[in-house]
Each structure stands twice: as C-alpha cells, then as structure tokens.
Symmetry: C2
Subunit: 232 residues, 2 copies
DNA sequence: ACAAAAGTGTTCAATTTACACCCATGG
DNA sequence: CCATGGGTGTAAATTGAACACTTTTGT
C-alpha cells in the first residue's frame, strides 16, 4: 500500500471585504503580480501557517495585504472552496471569510507594492481570478441576509451615523429603495439596534439629522425582511 | 529559509445526518473503535482522498460507514472546523456537512463492524468526540433555518406523506407546536411545495389523511418563519 | 421664499392568529 | 356514539405599505 490514505492539500484563506463607497457596494481587491492570473484582480488572502487557525490567518493577511487592522472587523466564515482544478498550482482548498467595513480612507494608500484598492463590485464581478467570483457571490448573499437578521448594517457605518446613512446601507446592499419614514420607525422600534448620541449633524441641505451609534443588540427580532425583487 | 511558508494539515469531512424518528430528532453516530475518544459516539466522517472533492468524500464516507447511498441525500456544507487542538492526532481541519434523511430502516443493520446507529439528539449532545458537538449545533441551526426558507422538510419525509407528518417535522425540529389547521392552509397556499397524490391513508384513529408528495419548488416565498420561543 | 432632507400621524390593506365548527373513521 | 385526527370558515388582532403633512436647515 504505497498510496497515501489522504490527499496532500494546502489550506488558504480568501477575504471578501465589503464597504459602501460613493453610493456603491465596493470590494477590496489586489491585483495579482504573479502567475497564474497575473494582472487580474483577486481577493486578498494567503496560505495558512503553522500553529495558526483560519481566523488568525485571515486577520494576518488582511493586515499584511491591506493595512486594515482586523481589530474591530467582524470576520464570518463563508465556506470551504475545494474544486480540484480551482488553482492551477496544485491542490489548494480555500476558506472564504466575509468582513464588512466602513468607508475607510483607502486601504494601503501607497504602503507596500501589491496595494489593495476598493473596486466597484458591479465592474469587478466576473473578472476576478480563480473561483473568486463564486466566493464573492456567496459572501454577498450572506451579507444581504445578515442585514435582515442582525444589526450588521452598522458595521458598514462610521462610529456615529445618521438614519439616512444607515438606510443607504440597506438600499445599496439590497439594491432597492426604502421609505425613509417607515424605515426610521422600524429601526427605532427595534430595542438596542441604535442609540441616539443627542447630537445632530448639518446636511448639505435640509434639516440636520440626529446622530446615532450602534446599540448592544446583535440579532434583529423580528427580522427586517427585504422585499423580493429582482436585482443585478 | 528552512521553515515552510504553509502549515501541513490534513483535510477531513464530518457528516451530520439528521432524521425524525420516534417523535424525536435523531442523529447518525458511530461509536469510536480507536483512540482518541475510544468508545465515545462521534460523527461519521473521514479523510479526503486524492482527486476527490469534499462533497465526494462526504458521499463516500456516508456509504462506507453507514450504508446510506448518498444518491438522493442533499448535502449542505456547514463550514470548516480548524481549532488547532481539535484533534490530538495532529493538525486536522474538518469540513462539516449536513444531510437530512427520512426515517430509514436503521442504517447498517449489522453490515460491517463500526455500525452506525441513530441516537436521540437530546441524549447524545454534549457527549460527542472531538468538537463534534459544536458541528452538530451549527448544523442543527442550519436545518432549522432551512425549514423556514426551503422545502427541505420533505427531505425528512418518505416518498409520500400526510400533512400531519409534515407538520410533525416542523414541530419536532423547531421544538414547538403548530396549529394543524393553519399549517395545512399555509403549506397548500405555497405554490409547488407539495402535490396531492389523490390517495388517502387510514390512521390508527380518525379521518384518513390525504397523501402528498413533494412538489417542484425548493425555496419558500414567503418564508415560514418560526415563532420565537425558548427551547432546549 | 424655496428646495431639500428629517421626522410624525394616520389610513388602509394584507397577513397572521385564534378558534368555532364540520368530516370521516375505528373501537 | 364517542374519541380522535383531518379539514373549512371566519372574525379579531397584528403588521406593513402608502402618503399627507410638519419641522428645520442652507441658499
């Protein structure tokens, strides 16, 4: 019995980091400097190291490749991607992670070579290296579902935000429009979702909006179900 | 640079196979014949082989260890479990899969040694080897959610079933009781969920129930949200 | 004064829930 | 003829969507 009883595989992590920027859903991508898929956009990620679990690898890669401290970023595992031919370099199984970030001042604004950048999701989809389009699709679906059941919309927002900004997250991630009046009431009626800071912020025009910060709740009950409509 | 840039890990699959039996949610377990955790119940599973993807490994292990043909069983990936100390034999990352089965005539009724058996979930939880309790918890939560959004309740049922049997699936998996009258209407109002066979089946007592088989639909719209109540 | 965004009150329709009541069978 | 589970009808309660209207600012 010379043949091994188990396959020799390498484990990697790939990160789907989403934000809302310029009224669009945007994705953190690097441009590949090596073959395969040289020059193509790809998800940040890399191989698992010794004595490191997957989450730690994800946090490390995020810091190395993008300069984003994984500190406050909530990472959620999306799943394992293991199609035998997904990577021409060999048998590599990758575990996808989703992270949601506020609109940050452009990741590594000129730090190291590879330079991660935000890219509009609608323009980059279909062009990603490896099976990264599939990972992104699954992660996006997860992000959309999370808006329904959790308070994760505030993860897209800065420390303090207006009701309009929060609503925009829902509108952009779901690709629909919501009634601002009903939205506001619904959110405020959900115990622990957001808390008023007491301050207001002047807008470009119009009445200044009250400012809020995230509350202690993490799960939404009842959920905010998105209306079913076709989008992208 | 003698040190490797990546960890040496082995990949495995673990299967959470659920059914409803004797009015209880039951789990397919094997009793471990070797160390570690010898004598303890565990999930069926095993190592990934060369030129085999995770799903294929799950189907193969299911057939080998339990005699269940993976044919019609729908396998859903739950996630990767990778805590470094989860398996004392070394660095083993396992991918969990969920399968839902009808009440089968006891898996390997005396075929090979290890013999998988059904075990009541409430008695076996907390006693499983490795981190299998955690995998089961995640899979169970997934199964409960699937009942809300998909027609997967019929996966728990035989080819033909009564409305009462289908309702029992919901009641047992969710751990609540449902109004039979409203339940029936709700299911029948969902296009493509189930189709009447035209036959009826005499009960132990009471009016014979109409028989149904599963319809073409797979996703439920609108979903059947479970009422929030505390359970087990 | 006007445009624009925030926010309140109210109405109406849709959905959910509860439950009275009838049906069909075995003992 | 009664217990038991299957099934229909209907009214009350809850929820959701629509929208008129008021508030508060910058220009």
């Amino acid at each position: 019995m010379e043949s091994r009883d188990h396959a020799e595989v390498r484990l990697a992590v790939d990160l789907v980091v989403l934000t809302v920027r310029e009224d669009r859903l945007q994705l953190l991508v690097i441009v590949r400097g090596n073959q395969p898929y040289r020059g193509r956009p790809a998800l940040p990620g890399g191989f698992l190291r010794e004595n490191e679990d997957l989450r730690a690898a994800a946090v490390r890669e995020l810091a190395e490749e993008t300069g984003l401290a994984g500190r406050s970023l909530v990472l959620e595992q999306i799943g394992a991607y293991d199609a035998p031919e997904r990577d021409p370099r060999g048998r590599i199984v990758s575990v996808g992670y989703l992270a949601v970030a506020p609109d940050l001042p452009v990741p590594t604004a000129g730090s190291d070579a590879t330079g991660a950048t935000w890219a509009r999701l609608d323009t980059v989809r279909g062009a990603l290296a490896f099976d990264h389009d599939e990972i992104v699709s699954d992660a996006l679906e997860r992000a959309r579902t999370r808006l329904e059941y959790t308070t994760s919309a505030t993860d897209f927002c800065a420390e303090v935000f207006t009701m309009g900004e929060l609503r925009q997250i829902y509108e952009i991630v779901w690709g629909i429009t919501l009634d601002p009046r009903n939205f506001s009431r619904r959110i405020l009626a959900t115990e622990g979702f957001i808390e008023p800071t007491g301050d207001r912020r002047a807008q470009v025009t119009g009445r200044p909006a009250a400012l809020y910060r995230r509350g202690p709740a993490s799960r939404l009950n009842p959920p905010m179900l998105r209306p079913q409509q076709g989008e992208q």
